[in-house]
């Protein structure tokens, strides 16, 4: 396996920097700053300190005995990213980027958000470090995730509802990039997923790698060997790449990314980028994209706002094409079923995003032997989704 990305930010044919010229120097400056600090002992120590003392890492690797029994196959472990401060893996990345922003002398940060988890994680670190924070969120998502909007405001961030296009994550990303173009001199963009132009996919992966690195150590301690399969949900793909990356060189570990099939991959309402998309350029990089014949990006759909995205990080596209990772779709209904099951068997309410991984893990584990091991990356907790699930149920599953 070759080292990716290369110096142009390419993961094979994927990645790169497809942005307006106005942003090019900002990206180059960011890349230089990141390369300067990423191995700097003071920088690394500060990030490690905050991950441990502020966010509560390492997160546990929990053996889900009752879920294992229910699935009736491989032993299932849960990597409890939901136990991070702010309730999801997103803070691993925002801590890293906020420390970097401070080193770069930036006083203002901006972020896009879908479900609101990355927005909350950005607002949180901005508060911690005394940075001014603006979060762009699709108007549709501000309705689906009112609680997170309020949390961000409590944390002192300004939430800007995005009224353009689909009014979801895709357009929140567009609007954040547009704002950045206009304010590039004093503003740092904390991008929340392993997507966008280089160096973001690499940098976000590096900050999320802590998930996979800890999992490796923890499973070796608990079982004395590596897992046979690792399962994670993919929207843009930050929790999945963080979990997968430390295992990429271990051929015996199956890497399974789970994307949102919404109301089904044979309908027009899904976010199954890998299953139904094809390579194209979208929001700064070459990767798989949901698009029509003419290259117009299609709106995505998922019950989970965090997976409701027609693109995916370029490293995932690379892992798919070199056949190192597999990507499978899970529907809204399957995810919801899995959410309930995990709640009842283990007393853990997962985020709707993570519930997609749980649903696939149940299928995969069932087909595995009892002495085999499967790890689910439980990327976030479900508190934020309770209201939208209630609504979904009340409407008989007709609307998310």
């Amino acid at each position: 396996m070759i080292q990716v990305p290369d110096q142009h930010g390419r993961f094979g044919p994927f990645g790169g920097k497809y942005v307006p010229e106005t942003l090019m120097n900002a990206l180059i400056e960011l890349e230089e700053a990141y390369n300067r600090y990423k191995d700097d002992p003071d920088f690394v120590a500060e990030v490690r300190y905050l991950l441990a003392q502020y966010s509560g890492r390492p997160t546990p690797l929990y053996y889900a005995e009752r879920l294992t029994r229910h699935a009736g196959g491989a032993k299932i472990y849960l990597k409890r990213e939901d136990l991070n401060h702010t309730g999801a893996h997103k803070i691993n990345n925002t801590i890293g980027q906020a420390v970097l922003a401070k080193r770069m002398g930036k006083k203002k940060v901006i972020a896009e958000t879908g479900a609101g988890q990355h927005g909350v994680a950005s607002a949180t670190v901005a508060a911690l470090m005394g940075l001014e924070c603006k979060v762009f969120m699709g108007e549709e998502d501000t309705k689906r995730q009112q609680l997170n909007v309020f949390r961000m405001k409590l944390l002192g961030a300004e939430v800007i509802p995005v009224m353009s296009g689909t009014r979801t994550l895709k357009d929140a990303c567009n609007e954040t990039l547009r704002y950045w173009v206009s304010n590039v001199n004093d503003t740092y963009y904390i991008l929340g997923s392993a997507t966008g132009p280089h160096p973001y996919p690499m940098m976000v992966r590096d900050f999320q790698r802590v998930i996979g690195l800890e999992t490796r150590d923890q499973i070796l301690e608990a079982e004395g060997r590596l897992p046979d399969a690792v399962v994670a949900a993919v929207g843009g793909g930050s929790n999945a790449i963080g979990m997968f990356h430390p295992f990429v060189g271990d051929e015996g570990v199956r890497l399974i990314g789970v994307e949102a099939a919404g109301r089904g991959i044979d309908t027009e309402e899904h976010a199954a980028t890998m299953t139904k998309g094809r390579p194209g350029v979208f929001q700064g990089s070459m990767s798989y994209v949901l698009q029509d014949e003419g290259g117009q990006v299609l709106p995505a759909h998922s019950i989970s706002a965090g997976l409701d995205y027609p693109g995916i990080g370029p490293e995932h596209s690379y892992l798919k094409d070199v056949k190192r990772a597999e990507y499978v779709p899970i529907t809204d209904a399957e995810a919801l079923e899995a959410l309930k099951l995990l709640s009842r068997t283990e007393g853990i309410i997962p985020a709707l995003e993570s519930a997609h991984a749980v649903a696939q893990a149940l299928k995969t584990a069932k087909a595995m032997k009892p002495d085999e091991i499967l790890v689910i990356n439980l990327s976030g907790r479900g508190d934020k989704d309770v209201e939208s699930i209630m609504k979904y149920e009340a409407e008989g599953g007709a609307h998310a």
Partner: protein, 280 residues
């Protein structure tokens, strides 16, 4: 560097304007807003208003470099399912109605990529285009596109921004057609102030460029156009015209020919008003 056998029409226009001491007026129109037939008529009107060349904008679902005015125009055009091919065909339709000025296609990269770059440039040539602007294709990514464009004799016109700094030299020195200088940080759209140090920026571009330089992003009046006329070879006006079209939609979308003509005339006089006076 391959040289184009025939003279590109853009080069010919700039050579002529240099003689007459004029600054090129380059309007931008979103194709298919409100419909393709009207776009052909508006291209004709732009030439009658004194435009020297024109940018035909391809509507895109995710126009990152564009502000609200052009975003709305794109959304209107996409509702009519206007495709890249439709936009390209506007050029030959306008040509057959006697339009003589050079055509420049403005498109985000993905639609061109999905069509296939060879086919894309083949079609541009076939339909009489002289240049193409791809706002999300910086020089680091443009290798293959540049090569194919060169073979087809189409200028791949690059953008430079006030933030380009050390990149200005590299971008401007390898530019073909003209250098598109972004007047201010931000997306397209009408604005009252431009980047501080814009004159210095234009002087830097001028020094590095072997081709004409034009200024765009935010120019919305003749006063602004004239302000830049002394330090560049052309001004590009997009959002101001697209906004005028938006305001004129009730006329432009009318089924009655009289009202339609009235709408076209209104846009034509708006464009004519923008034209910088000949440098004295």
């Amino acid at each position: 560097m391959s040289t184009v056998a025939q003279t590109n029409a853009i080069d010919a226009v700039f050579a002529r304007l240099k003689e007459s001491g004029e600054t090129a007026l380059i309007p931008f129109l979103t194709m298919g807003d409100p419909d393709l037939e009207t776009s052909v008529a508006l291209v004709q009107a732009a030439e009658q208003a004194g435009a020297h060349m024109i940018e035909l904008g391809v509507p895109y679902s995710d126009p990152l470099a564009d502000g609200p005015v052009i975003q709305r125009a794109s959304e209107r055009a996409l509702r009519n399912r206007v495709s890249l091919l439709d936009c390209i065909e506007v050029a030959s339709k306008a040509r057959s109605r006697g339009v003589r000025m050079p055509f420049i296609l403005f498109t985000y990269f993905n639609p061109a990529l999905q069509l296939g770059l060879d086919r894309f440039f083949g079609l541009l040539k076939e339909h009489g285009f002289s240049g193409v602007i791809i706002p999300d294709l910086p020089m680091e990514e443009d290798g293959e596109t540049r090569e194919i464009a060169g073979k087809a004799g189409i200028h791949l016109i690059p953008l430079v921004a006030p933030t380009s700094e050390a990149r200005v030299e590299r971008i401007a020195s390898r530019a073909s057609g003209f250098v598109y200088c972004v007047s201010s940080l931000g997306v397209t759209g009408v604005r009252t102030s431009f980047h501080e140090g814009i004159e210095e920026f234009l002087a830097t571009v001028r020094k590095a460029a072997r081709v004409p330089i034009c200024v765009g992003f935010g120019i919305s009046s003749r006063e602004q156009a004239e302000k830049f006329a002394g330090s560049c070879d052309g001004v590009i006006v997009g959002s101001a015209i697209v906004r005028k079209i938006e305001e004129t939609l009730p006329l432009l979308s009318s089924a009655e020919q009289d009202r339609m003509d009235e709408g076209i005339a209104a846009v034509r006089s708006f464009i004519a008003e923008l034209k910088p006076r000949v440098r004295g």
